[in-house]
Each structure stands twice: as structure tokens, then as C-alpha cells.
Symmetry: C2
Amino acid sequence: MDDRDHSFGKHYLVEFSGCPAEKVSCIADIREPFLEAARLSGATILESFFHQFEPRGVTGMIFIAESHFSLHTWPEAGYVAFDILTCGVMFPERAIEHLKQSFQAAHVDIRVFTRGFNDQ
Amino acid sequence: MDDRDHSFGKHYLVEFSGCPAEKVSCIADIREPFLEAARLSGATILESFFHQFEPRGVTGMIFIAESHFSLHTWPEAGYVAFDILTCGVMFPERAIEHLKQSFQAAHVDIRVFTRGFNDQ
């Protein structure tokens, strides 16, 4: 890292598609796989929060010492938007693989961005 | 939107730098500007959550009907990582401008990404 690079972490934007609706509709479907994904990544979990949309669909968030995990599901479309923002040493790929399996996602798309700023 | 475009929303990754530490150290500094930013954007606020790091630094999250706002502060570096994920009609620029003023940020960097998937 040179003097002009102020990187604070990596942001993973992950799209899961082709998920069976029954895997991603309710908090009860989501909670354990999501928390287990955070554990597998090596994150230090602080708190977790979930919101149930009616008739179905979930927002989930895990505060971690290294920043956060978030997740939003669109069961009718078989789609889940998943993020990992980490400023520490973690293994995000393990979390992504676990959720892919848990949600039975047919496709996964992953983009990774550096967070921080340049000297200006 | 053509048949092969499955866009679910826009994700704004925003970096604030040059923020005075006393503007971004504690939940008491963050809570109202953050909630007001969400209101100004036109979001429908569902719930909000905050975590205080010691000796200073905050994680904040707002669940909105349109997805979420998140924020992480590094007061010692004058840096704040701010995200808006929206799947509805909103005015994210109003939220960004409000936080820039509230945090007295010297610089703002904004990147916008489409969330969703292509037919595969």
C-alpha cells in the first residue's frame, strides 16, 4: 500500500439467481444459513437483524467487527442480493459458497470493489 | 428493460473523507443525520440499528422498504463508508448531500452499480 492509497476494505456485491422460492421466502429460511456463512468466513459476529416482508421476502443484516453482511431476497424472482463489506482478514468466498448451496442458487455473480479514498 | 435484463435496483457506494473526527465518532453524532438523510431521499424507513465501537467509530444500518442504508465510520482517518441499496424510486443524491454537510466531508466519491442478474 503506497502513501496515496487509503484502502479500508473490500466490498463484495454478490447476486444469487435461480433460487427456489421456498429457500429464500422467510426469516426462518434465511437466518441460520446467513449466520453460518458469516461464521465460515471467519467474521466476528456482533449482532444480527432481520425484517420479514409480506407475503414473502426478507432483509437481513449482520454487524461484524470487520463491517457487515447484508442480504435481500426476492423469492418470486428467485433472486438474492448479498453483500459483504470487510475491513479485516476474512474468507468471503466461504460465505458465498455456503449461501449458494443453502439457497440452491443456479447462478452466482460476484464483483469485488475496494473501499476507501485516494489523496485528493 | 428487455427480457434479458433483470435489474432489481441501484447500489451507491459512497466514500466521505476529510471528516472531522468529532463529527463521526459516536452514535449520538451519527443517528440523526443518518435518519434525516434517509428521509430526504424519500425512503420508507422500517427500522434502524447502531453499534458503537470503542474508543470510537460507529456502524449504522437503516432497513427501508426499498432495501437499505449502511454506514461505517473511521474517525481517526476522517473516513466514512456509506451505501445506499435501493430497489425503488428514491433520490439518493439528497441523502449523500445531507451527510456530506453533516459530516463536514472535504471529499466525496460516488460509484453506482446495478444489482440483479442477466439470463444465464
